[in-house]
Amino acid sequence: MGECPLLEAIFVQIDINEYERENEYRKLIENYEGKAEHLLAIMQDVQKQYNYLPRLAIQLISDYVGTPVSRVYAMASFYKAFSLVPKGRYVFRVCDGTACHIKNSETLLDRLYQQLGIKAGETTADGMYSVETVNCLGACALAPVMVVNGKVHGKVSPGEVERIVKEYGGQNHGS
């Protein structure tokens, strides 16, 4: 939500490659009928494939479905499933659902900051790691929970964070 300071920096880099990808985007987008009811599904497919919603893809989706760009962008900015900026290769999602919160999920974020040098909502400069908070993954009995690229880690103690980060090569990344 809000401003994306990373956007400017990263955008210039990916500008050149995007236009080469137009056909790739089209293939994904045109899997569905060009109707507004498929907007969510189309955007999710693109998000999953590219780890964010490329600007060109948003334009193509708008043309294909017949919904103004502003409204496609509005959906991209409204729904948390979408990212307008590329996420890191490894995304550390710390659950901040109530059960995890009262079992001190905040301390896990402290540990991640210590290891990776980034806070929730940020991505490391080299694009390798992102940290996010998630609103309840539905594994509340295992609070506190952290998910890394789909793998669920339950009952994560602050001490374990270092071990998990190491699994992905991120130890002392922030130093």
Partner: protein, 610 residues
Amino acid sequence: MEAKVYKDDRQTVLVCCGTGCTANGGREVFRAFQKRLENHPEMEVLPVIKATGCNGWCEKGPLVRLMPRDITYCSVAEKDVDEIVDKTLLEGVLIKRLLYRDPVSKEHLTSHHLTDFYRKQHKIALRNIGEIDPGQINDYIEREGYQALKKALQDMDGQAVIDAVKTAGLRGRGGGGFPTGSKWQSCRDAKGEPKYIICNGDEGDPGAFMDRSIMEGDPHTVIEGMILGAYAVGATHGYIYVRDEYDLAVQYLGQAVKDARQQGYLGSNIMGSELSFDIELVRGGGAFVCGEETALMASIEGRTGEPRDKYVYPTEKGLWGKPTIINNVETWANVPVIILHGAEAFAAIGTEKSKGTKVFSLVGKVVNTGLVEVPMGTTLREIIYEIGGGVLKKRRFKAVQTGGPSGGCIPASLLDLPIDFDSLTEAGSMMGSGGLIVMDDHTCMVEVARYYVNFLAGESCGKCTPCREGIRAMLEILTDICNGKGKLEDLQLLEDISATMQEASLCALGRTAPNPVLSTLRYFRDEYIEHIENRFCPAGICRELTTFYIDPEKCTGCTLCMKSCAVNAITGEKKQVHVIDESSCIRCGECYRTCNFDAIKLARRDRHEN
């Protein structure tokens, strides 16, 4: 109402592979069983191995159950599999260390059915979970699956289905508690085509995972419920809106819909009748507000999830302006049982105005965390202490939060409250979707209010003034209070803003957003005053108001706190008194909560530093 369990005496190994147990290695255990039993020379008939959905007892996972002897092994690791096969499956010998040991009687219990956790439960919505492979439609069929549909199509008409649901007294399980039968009647009576059936699987309440377990563990019960609903109101299209974060649920539901279609339970002329109905899956975009029915419909229509005023109900004008019924996952899961076993049997359970059972996710500072399904009217005390095993580490119970961000906190004095829709609302909370979050004396109630308001600050759609600006103002005030900048007048301001939010907000998110604030003000006002007047947080949670120091008299030098410190602020040799370096301490409280000797103390930060 118990379904027949197993038709033959073939040995079956049920391995829980719900999200919780999977995180703990359930899948590895499952695969180990598969490998080991692929071609076992000593077995004439190879056991059936099933990966099931969430059993509910997440605390003791990964769970492995052996039928038909009904043996439950807890916290099973991959390395235990060989022993289980050799000792229990082949020789029939129990492995004591894997059995659950009752903390009071000290007995080892063979079956989970004998444990306190399960004994008091009554499974209707969860009847199949843990017993079947959710990816196999035949498992569902073997346990009376689609029998209700058959009965309805053969012996009843749509109105009779509605009458049964009305007599049963089923009320929405998603939070609203609206009488399901009445809702269906309005839709049946409404004019417009096509009519739609929607399943709200957007389970957004943090701390709740009931719907996830049902969608993952028994997808067909939802589908059968929806087909019955379609038959009742004359609908032709159905949508299951699943929360984006629930990968496994999407997978199993997708498979189930395909299988149901293939077997003729979905599509044209279902089971040879005139009913034609099909279901489409929609993945949510990640928005709590989309649990609100009009926002959910906007989302399906390809718009942002902004609700609308409901002066005209969705049953009249819903999806694309057509008559629509939206019900929660758990509500749908109850429908086949009502139709097959009769409305009276269902209505015999529960309280006068809240019939049937409710699934709760019992989480937080409680010993037995997991999913429980109990008859309405069970008291909070029974659930937390008898089923839940009491508060973790025997700490003092402070409150139980129910109803998610729309609900409130219930103090110890109300533990004997029988849980039903009305009693919880009167106490200043609500049933909500069923989250029960147990809090102990290490939980700060002001911070809990702030937490929920902060959650809603990001989840509100932002369209209407009272919700958006009301939440903004409340968040500023609560944050100030937690940071020692609060003023007593703030409390009145919180109450004024709350009143306007309750009256003027566009949707239920805004109307119920003040609940966590109002309920904590009602039962824990002293904590607010403590934060404001004394600039102290008795629970040791608010970092700006707290500092920690080690009592040299009590410290045994065990080094446990040192290991727990994220910033290495504690120094000390083994068996020597440890010291916290105030300048590097971030006040996270980990050491305080870790110490087993009560050697770490709280102090007011501003006083202590001076």
